[in-house]
Symmetry: C2
Subunit: 241 residues, 2 copies
């Protein structure tokens, strides 16, 4: 038997299971299954590497196998599931290599996002970024000394930057694809980066560069920021290994 039977999966859209806001009524059952399962995978309630039985899951969510399969396939193309023909689906397993690969791709894409954001210099994006940074600053002061960003803070930052790039393809690739994998690693390997103050200053400088319209600098800073985070993880991994 592949999965622990008493891991309590999310009720179907009982809580807001990461479902897009304001579209609650107009989504199919397969959609809701997709959102719930995505959350369960990201947050580790479906263990990485575990096999998935379609009939069992369908029963558990009280849905037909067809609708469930639709959700599973969307999860597959999200890169959260792997399916083999006539064999079935399993949750992807988290590997050191996969995590590092993720960092390299993010470095490239988020660097570009910064460059584009700086070229646009949208006023509303800038105020939002500033407000967010201010909130994070207060939080940091609150948790002084020992403090580090809770991962979600760092996440907000990267998310907002990408939005400001105004490139729909870039936004989709990062926010609707890669970030779920990022969060999966964070949740399950539980790596709260201990580089709090530095990260905050880096974020601040990046926003400065964007505000100044200096795309090249913004890109360089973001890439350095991500690469620093990567080295940090890499060190930790080779130690534990």
């Amino acid at each position: 038997m592949a999965m622990d039977s008493n891991t309590a999966l999310t009720q179907l859209a009982a809580d807001g299971a990461d479902t897009p806001k304001g579209t609650r009524g107009s989504q199919s059952l397969a959609d809701r299954l997709f959102y719930s399962l995505r959350k369960d995978i990201v947050e580790g309630r479906m263990p990485a590497g575990s096999k998935i039985s379609e009939p069992e899951l369908a029963r558990r969510f009280d849905a037909s196998r067809g609708s469930l399969r639709e959700a599973l396939m969307r999860l597959e193309s999200l890169g959260l599931l792997e399916r083999k023909v006539n064999v079935g689906a399993r949750v992807v397993d988290l590997t050191e290599r996969g995590l590092l690969e993720l960092y390299d791709v993010r470095e490239a894409l988020e660097g570009m996002a910064c460059r584009l954001a700086a070229q646009n210099r949208s006023e509303e994006d800038l105020v939002e970024l500033r407000q967010m940074l201010h909130r994070h600053e207060q939080q940091e002061e609150l948790q002084a000394g020992t403090a580090y960003f809770q991962p979600e803070g760092d996440f907000d930052f990267h998310f907002r930057i990408v939005q400001a790039s105004n490139n729909d393809l870039l936004i989709d690739t990062l926010c609707n694809r890669l970030y779920y994998r990022v969060r999966m690693y964070r949740y399950q390997l539980g790596m709260a980066s201990p580089r709090a103050h530095r990260a905050f200053r880096e974020h601040s400088h990046i926003i400065d560069a964007i505000e100044a319209g200096d795309g090249e600098l913004a890109e360089i800073l973001m890439r350095r920021h991500i690469r620093a985070s990567r080295s940090n993880i890499e060190k930790k991994l080779t130690n534990t290994d």
Copy 2:
């Protein structure tokens, strides 16, 4: 009625419809539908922006609606289709903006691919790249003067470089996602880049940098290469506009 009834779509896996080699037997009907439809969309036999009727398509391919829907959903997450709940699917339409966005994302990702390829410096990758470049050189001499790369040549190059990056996530993102959109634009807006000799020299220099293990230079050259192609297109578009 949305689609011209006598546009001859590909027979199901009659020709090798872009199906992965060596796996002909072990693929589901939905897989074959997916490959065929992907080819039809990329090559414009299903016009960009046209609506898709599930029953009609299912009849045409002699498959059940369920299997077809599975293929459609995979096409959606490839970004080749857009689906609205209770309304249906339509082929994405090609916009100037979308094309330019594609270039920016490619610049970021393929630049990184070059950097990684240079860091690896795999011997086999290098001989393959050299051989390919040699083939292209001969073709170019053949078609002298008027000559330009047929798009496929340029495509081979970028494809191979990405493979040499040895980053599975990067490879998947580019080769299994973005490149189909690239080819869709090329087929349908029919833009054979007229910058032949220059492109060839640029390719050559990029490979040199990779061979020298100079990741930073390789990245810069690739990004410049792609940005040049982008400006070229941009100029053409604003003229015709």
